[in-house]
């Protein structure tokens, strides 16, 4: 990625700094920046029409979308799921609809001994059932509850809050999947609830959140079922954040 001016560089570093690497080969070649005249942001790739955004939040959202699509093209072998992934020995995939509280719960769980693998994208190797990291900075849409305050270095854009330093470890290698959690936020719930899901129910839910199922055998159904049949799956109705974290941590404790 090339970025000539400091404002855009700071923004990109805030969101993707964890991915910085001295790779000798280039898979994706981006040039980003701000036009002088109208201060609009642009995202350019060789042979592609440049994308433009009127503000910083839209710029990062466009970049997120573009890179997610390009990664799916580069790694068609991986089964991409729209999910956050934490680690607790093994990887725990948190699947939710957009706005379902996935990032907020991720942020909270990082205070409870979980490590960070991804906030947005879970690329699964269907042969090994490992999840690859996608350590884009945790991006929240709103301030979390007071018991989980954001650090001072949080970068605020028109759409998102990017947390540059997380309390848990950032995992940078493929991690064996250990469990899947399908998150539902219920504003009327008096407390969090968790229940096991059958592999079939979880498979149907996972498929609905898969990003590139048609790139895989059986239109992606085989992949979804392979993932859910091999791991414990749960539905978690979240409520109070601390209680939700405690319930999930207890559920994922290895049984004796």
């Amino acid at each position: 990625m090339r970025c000539a001016e400091p404002a855009t560089y700071t923004l990109v570093a805030a969101a993707y700094g964890e991915m910085q690497d001295d790779a000798s080969t280039i898979d994706l070649d981006y040039t980003v920046g701000q036009n002088g005249a109208d201060a609009a942001f642009y995202i350019a790739r060789p042979g592609q029409k440049a994308l433009t955004a009127r503000d910083d939040g839209t710029f990062l959202a466009l970049f997120d979308k573009d890179i997610a699509i390009e990664l799916q093209k580069l790694r068609r072998d991986l089964y991409f799921v729209h999910a956050a992934v934490l680690t607790r020995g093994e990887a725990v995939m948190l699947v939710a609809k957009p706005g379902g509280g996935k990032s907020t719960l991720t942020w909270a769980l990082l205070h409870h001994g979980f490590g960070f693998l991804s906030d947005e994208l879970a690329p699964v190797d269907l042969d090994t059932l490992e999840v690859h990291p996608y350590p884009r900075t945790l991006a929240l849409k709103r301030e979390p509850p007071g018991s989980y305050p954001l650090p001072r270095r949080t970068v605020v854009t028109s759409r998102t809050l990017h947390v540059r330093s997380v309390p848990g470890s950032v995992v940078k290698g493929p991690t064996p999947l250990g469990a899947l959690v399908f998150l539902n936020y219920d504003p009327d719930a008096t407390g969090p609830k968790i229940r096991p899901l059958t592999a079939a129910e979880a498979g149907a839910r996972l498929y609905a959140n898969a990003l590139n199922p048609l790139a895989h055998a059986g239109n992606g159904l085989d992949g979804a079922v392979r993932i859910t049949a091999a791991h414990p799956c749960y539905e978690l109705v979240s409520a109070d954040l601390s209680a939700t974290c405690a319930l999930l941590a207890r559920t994922l404790e290895p049984s004796e």
Partner: protein, 91 residues
Amino acid sequence: MSENHPKRRFDISARVVADETVVLDLGAAQIHQLNATASFIWNRCDGHCTVGEIAEKLAESFDVDYETARQAVRTTLHRFDELGLLDSARQ
């Protein structure tokens, strides 16, 4: 629902997982989870078995009386039909 020979749509994908079934209807952009009973019925919607035959097999396998099984089959087939999962030309 016809009393004839219910048949699954040929363009629908299904996978059995631990007695349940995940059914993918790409044309309708829908995915369904069938419980064990619905899976049993789904697997016999082959265009050959009649509703009565499916009910007989269900009664035998799930240890319920024939009338209960027949009602379950009819209700389930009605739901499959509502979801557009059956080949309407063969019902």
